[in-house]
């Protein structure tokens, strides 16, 4: 049985080759490596936990089915996030059609948790502030902070030009910082 330390050093390309050659179980390593990132990206677009999990699962399944077609011109993570972005946008459109109330008001990032730690509270504020942004802005900002991807990589994922992306990031950070400060101040007052 492989130890965790042995599999952690395997590159994405090596694992992909193993999966393509029939070792499907190796795909679990890629899932473990990227599940949080994919889930976070999905959550910041669809803004609902259950939907975000479904989007994350759909994204990993799509990637698995098309793994042989991955041309490796970009990083695996770039390709994965691009698929996640498109899947999340489709889900978001479907959710918007199904519901009449605005999702921004109905977001509840902690639907299943009763005991919230301080870390959970902090994550809640981030999620609430992020929910105030439009999807492309939320996506760009999430990728910017999450893995500190280069602007070129974020352009490949979001299909935005570099100039457009800079404008979006700039606008998103200002709005996000303002919303987050308001939320933190409100929480301080409530406490």
């Amino acid at each position: 049985m492989r130890s965790q330390s042995n599999v952690n050093h395997l590159s994405d390309d090596v694992i992909i080759d193993q999966v393509i050659n029939g070792h499907t179980s190796s795909y679990a390593i890629l899932i473990e490596r990227y599940k949080s990132y994919v889930y976070t990206v999905a959550l910041n677009i669809v803004k609902l936990e259950e939907e975000a999990e479904e989007v994350a699962q759909d994204s990993f399944i799509k990637v698995f089915k098309n793994l042989k077609k991955f041309n490796r011109e970009s990083k695996f993570s770039t390709w994965l996030y691009r698929i996640t972005f498109n899947t999340a946008l489709t889900a978001r459109k479907r959710i918007t059609k199904q519901t009449t109330e605005t999702l921004n008001d109905s977001i509840n990032p902690f639907t299943n948790q009763t005991d919230q730690t301080e870390q959970d509270d902090q994550k809640k504020f981030i999620a609430l502030a992020m929910s105030r942004l439009v999807e492309q802005d939320a996506m760009a900002l999430t990728l910017f902070y999450l893995e500190e991807l280069s602007l070129d990589e974020i352009c490949k994922i979001t299909d935005l030009s570099l100039s457009n992306l800079k404008v979006r990031l700039h606008r998103a950070r200002k709005r996000f910082a303002k919303e987050l400060q308001l939320l933190l101040r409100k929480e301080a007052v409530n406490l």
Binding site: T24, E53, Y145
Partner: protein, 171 residues
């Protein structure tokens, strides 16, 4: 308000290391002289760090396990028509093998009789002197049976086993 926005823009660019050396040096000297600017820089810097630290969220604990069960059940399975085609191919191959090995042809070809003149150049014949009569009939049967067995093995390993293994995972 506009001045505050310009100030924030400058601070973000400084935090992103997006200023030229000259602008960076000038900004750092402004920070030393302007306490409000320094306070705002610290505020946005803290927000930046706070976001980086808390942005990552995790799905449910059995996410990978649940997903792998699903993935192992969605292996690419050939369509029914492909199975029919492959089965037909194997049966045809098998029957052809039996037919060709047993059948002795009585077909006669009616060709126009043509007189071929004798060549003036005589090519010496080479007597091969085969000591043993090669059992061609048995060799051809053996090859055909081997081919059939290999095809069945391939069918079992490449299609049947993954299909039933996948069905077992989903059940």
């Amino acid at each position: 308000m506009e001045k505050e926005e310009d100030q924030d823009d400058l601070i973000w660019r400084y935090l992103d290391d997006d200023l030229t050396e000259f602008d960076k040096t000038r900004f750092e000297s402004q920070i030393e002289q302007n306490t409000d600017l320094k306070t705002r820089l610290d505020e946005l810097n803290r927000l930046n760090d706070y976001t980086k630290k808390n942005i990552l969220r995790s799905p449910v604990s059995d996410f990978t396990e649940h997903l792998m069960l699903h993935i192992q059940g969605v292996r690419i399975v050939p369509k029914r028509s492909h199975w029919v085609l492959l089965a037909g191919l194997l049966v045809t191959l098998f029957i052809s093998g039996l037919y060709l090995s047993e059948y002795s042809s009585n077909i006669t070809l009616e060709l126009n009789k043509i007189d071929i003149p004798e060549s003036p150049i005589k090519i010496p014949s080479v007597d091969l002197k085969l000591n043993e009569k090669l059992p061609l009939d048995q060799i051809s049967k053996g090859l055909l049976y081997t081919l059939s067995i290999l095809s069945l093995l391939f069918f079992d390993r490449a299609i049947l086993r993954p299909y039933f293994k996948g069905r077992k995972a989903t059940n």
